[in-house]
Amino acid sequence: MQLFAVARQVAGRPAIAIDLAEGATVADLRRRLAEVCPVLAPLLPAMMFALEDQYLGDGQPLPDGARLACIPPVSGG
């Protein structure tokens, strides 16, 4: 999963590999991320997740081998 901005800074890396069970949802992804990379835990409630060019809802199941992105609150403009 790609990390951006403060998430990349806090994790100290631009991407994290996450193993998820088949049928896992975004909610599962959030829980797994907090285990794999605990420093990200305080940020996770504010993060959105995207699959390629789409935002994902919390209950949405993730396809196998999905290319995910973790999206912190935006500040462009």
């Binding site: 901005a5 403060v6 800074q9 806090v10 940020l43 912190p72 935006v74 500040s75 462009g76 403009g77």
Partner: protein, 147 residues
């Protein structure tokens, strides 16, 4: 025209892209790097984007704004990378037959861009420190885990 670019934004090209003989009004918004924010001096800003989603959302906004107002053309450009004080980070231009639509549409576009498009700004302060800007995330938590 929709553009994410690490080059300086070419305002003349942005204006040119919305020109039309049917236009009576053009509204251009430029976001520029402010020197002072909350009493602190900025040296430069650094912008980064998640490009596949940012470009798709910008295209959707450009499509949606043209449904909401009778526009002739609409352009958005956002700079990425390092942007010095006084330089342009974002340009939004719209043209329409009458001015009310152009003002409303221009403001709507920049408001939506700022709330939904995955682009992030990192303040590089004059005191040598830097900080990612994430509305709603409190800076102490952010700073705590910094690499």
């Amino acid at each position: 025209m929709i553009r994410l670019t690490s080059e300086p934004i070419d305002v003349a090209a942005v204006l040119q892209s919305v020109q039309s003989p049917a236009a009576g009004a053009v509204v251009l918004f430029l976001g520029t790097t402010r020197e002072m924010t909350d009493g602190r001096r900025t040296q430069w800003l650094h912008y980064e984007a998640y490009a596949p989603l940012a470009e798709k959302l910008l295209a959707e906004l450009v499509c949606e704004v043209q449904k909401r107002w009778p526009l002739l053309a609409c352009s958005v450009g956002h700079r990425l990378g390092r942007v010095e004080v006084g330089q342009i980070s974002v340009a939004v231009a719209v043209s329409s037959a009458h001015r009310q639509a152009a003002f409303e549409a221009g403001q709507w576009l920049i408001d939506r861009l700022k709330e939904s498009v995955p682009i992030w700004k990192e303040e590089h302060w004059a005191d040598g420190t830097s900080q990612w800007v994430h509305p709603g995330l409190s800076p102490p938590i952010v700073g705590g885990g910094a690499a």
